[in-house]
Symmetry: D2
Amino acid sequence: MTSPDYILTIRCRDTIGIVAAVSTALAASQAFIAESSHFGDPETRLFFMRTVFRPTGEVVRTLEDFRKALAPVARRFGMELALYAADSRTRVLLAVSKHGHCLNHLLHQWHSGELPLDVVGVVSNHEDMRRLVEWYGLPYHYLPMSDGKDRQESRFREAIASSGAELTVLARYMQVLSDEMCRHLEGRCINIHHSFLPSFKGAKPYHQAYARGVKVVGATAHYVTSDLDEGPIIEQETHRVSHAFDADAFVRNGKDMENVVLSRAVRWHAEHRVMLNGSRTVVFQ
Amino acid sequence: MTSPDYILTIRCRDTIGIVAAVSTALAASQAFIAESSHFGDPETRLFFMRTVFRPTGEVVRTLEDFRKALAPVARRFGMELALYAADSRTRVLLAVSKHGHCLNHLLHQWHSGELPLDVVGVVSNHEDMRRLVEWYGLPYHYLPMSDGKDRQESRFREAIASSGAELTVLARYMQVLSDEMCRHLEGRCINIHHSFLPSFKGAKPYHQAYARGVKVVGATAHYVTSDLDEGPIIEQETHRVSHAFDADAFVRNGKDMENVVLSRAVRWHAEHRVMLNGSRTVVFQ
Amino acid sequence: MTSPDYILTIRCRDTIGIVAAVSTALAASQAFIAESSHFGDPETRLFFMRTVFRPTGEVVRTLEDFRKALAPVARRFGMELALYAADSRTRVLLAVSKHGHCLNHLLHQWHSGELPLDVVGVVSNHEDMRRLVEWYGLPYHYLPMSDGKDRQESRFREAIASSGAELTVLARYMQVLSDEMCRHLEGRCINIHHSFLPSFKGAKPYHQAYARGVKVVGATAHYVTSDLDEGPIIEQETHRVSHAFDADAFVRNGKDMENVVLSRAVRWHAEHRVMLNGSRTVVFQ
Amino acid sequence: MTSPDYILTIRCRDTIGIVAAVSTALAASQAFIAESSHFGDPETRLFFMRTVFRPTGEVVRTLEDFRKALAPVARRFGMELALYAADSRTRVLLAVSKHGHCLNHLLHQWHSGELPLDVVGVVSNHEDMRRLVEWYGLPYHYLPMSDGKDRQESRFREAIASSGAELTVLARYMQVLSDEMCRHLEGRCINIHHSFLPSFKGAKPYHQAYARGVKVVGATAHYVTSDLDEGPIIEQETHRVSHAFDADAFVRNGKDMENVVLSRAVRWHAEHRVMLNGSRTVVFQ
């Protein structure tokens, strides 16, 4: 019987001997390192590590075996340490309003096996996307704002809880979350903003970009925080525009970029490649 | 004897018959159109045109001949109309402080015949770049800020006037121009800002970008106005960065982009490809 | 009653007076030019023009009126001249094998009104995409290769003819078309090739790219000709890769780019922005 | 007294325990790891590592101390292991023909302290760049081809040897090196090719690109091998072009890209970030 790869992520204060301790513990358990990245931030003095390893040897060790083997190291360095089976899939709930392009892109990628995650449902404050979502055999949680924001968000949280979602993705969900909701979802909610943040925060960013006369526009995927459009950035991408583009052309051309950026950010989160470093992120590619 | 190509630029209120009138006048004078672009802005209702044409026929017409031939058309439509010989070169004065990369790039391109313009001198508030500039056989106007800003800017304006410069290029000139100076140079002064405007206006943009944790940085060439870093944008370019870049790496990687963006903007201005459209630009490529 | 905009495209031998004649004829018919581009290729000495205009005045002229008004001009210059109502939609037939990402992307864009065309059906040599296509209410032409290539292509041509398709899009259709089929579809069949042509022609381009160790990969949309992967290029886009990407990662990351490139090429063709210039294209953006 | 950082690079067959052994040896010598990357190629089964570390503790260890500490590890795993002081600068000889843009760019970056290397001279088969090179106070080795290729290359090798150059950079040196010369410089000679390899190998790549009608062009920096334009690629970058660019515009726009790509490749080599992996490279950024 073959065992899956395991993914190890670590965050702790940076000091001498971390890599030695971790890699020695892994080698002692006959783990072959398939992929590994680390980064020490000289400013925050935090150390980040992501390692993909493979059990070898006659006795195939389990996740629990490795957890035990690493526990003394974690204690010694005060680590936030997480271990995942590489084939265990992050459970993801999507949220959308009326613009379905990101939703459609993520659902197709998930359905064709390109995204290593399980979509467990879709939340929306509109009915527009129900038919698409149900074609994919997914529950559609219609949560209209007419119920009042408090009540709507409370039902949103219930949808997250009952579906067991570990990550919520705002795939062009055009409602500002309350501070309470933001705190509740800290580090496990990704939003796509249709501008090259920090330019053009808030509403109608493409129209702002058009008015400013920029020659390049962008899209940004970031973790949601209670500071609107100020959360830690995971990924950005840009695209050239010209004077001949009106605001509608900005919008139209931007959609492809939003798809790409959000899809990358969600994939990287699901592969445990993204780690919070204060108001910034470390992304191990 | 062969005649040079001519460049015609037009700006006027958009209406029916402009292209017909201009192209008919040109055809009547035996002008062969080598390149032509026009753009009507549906928002400002302004019309912009740039045409490169070539006199043909037995009698080779001069710039003055074409000016006369187009005068009735210009009057009829209330045009701002300009005519240039394509081989007449814009006279350019460069300004720099201590970071010489953009200066060095522009001087090399000019000297090797790649930029269709004449550099007529360099202004600086420091002495650092004198040796480089004098190697190119150009006058170096050392205008220290210690003389007081008013006096320094007055000498700057004298350098522009006496050199006959039609365009001033702030090639990493790290002084904020006074409102008066900005107005004096309106539409004929290009600055390179080392960020993807409107993000990170003001000082130390790469450090701001690092602190915000962006994944893409940029550079912006724009016309100088009295609103700091708010002038009409001519060109922008972006470049990926990662969590492993510190602020110094942002700065270092940004320089190549600044070179490219400023060089393009200056070339396009010198080729009469850039036209002001309110707070935005039309750039005919 | 408002009239739609009209799109005029012209191709002819370049000479003096073309723009004058066309724009004078349009102005005489009270046409307001909303958008116009032309290009004279100094090498092939061909002239290309695309103009979007709007009838004005009390008597609203029809497409037929403009056709008549332009006929003498077309005759005089020996023009290939085409006129379209901007709101008439190109009929498009899609072809796919097993990789559905481009198909899904185009169908979503079409269905949500972002692509100015009518999808009239999908051809495939496999059954995999039937369910998706039928969800969109489109006919699915299952044309297996087991019938023999001749017979299969004959049925393919029938599907094109019976659906009235003006454009065929090979959206990851993994069969090489016969020379006869290529000639039959000349100038009206667009393929997406998953490499940055002319690099990595033929099969498994991402694997070729991985083996060569390139640092940037690309995708190319081109018109199909009987020279495999040698047809006139409409659009290309590139994407950075690193040593840490294996061939599968090349494939996965490439898909987003294929979506974007094919979607742009199809849109531009449908908007009559693409014109053939020998083995190259003119693309008016 | 502060000690400089050290850079360690390793290449060996991949197996269990490499990172553990290396990092344990470093930790035992009180080395603080500032930056580290490793990569195991699942195809070639080779392991690559680059680590930047800093001696700490009361007894500051020297390069020689670390060499001794790591020797048993290197023996055990059969490693190619190299150790550098981070402030020791690679000695670089540049070669150029008549196009001076890359030369000028590298010299400026070196002179302003942006490139962590020592330029020790310039070789050229023409006299054109002598004045520029001598302004920088560097020896100019004029080696005309009229002496015969054998004799010219022999003098080229002497210039390398006598200057102590560790890296030779062909900065638009338009001569094909002999097989013998290529073998002599294997892994220590970088060339800039003005196309997006493997497209457009050989002469006049921009003209080839123009003729093919591509919409994106590129530049490639690679190690020189006896297979012309087939050496391991270090870096590539691309740039959009349009139908309105003639071959000269391809050339002109390409130069900025060549500067950027070659400068990055040379920097990364000098920082010991590039390692050969068969016909490909590993580049640790």
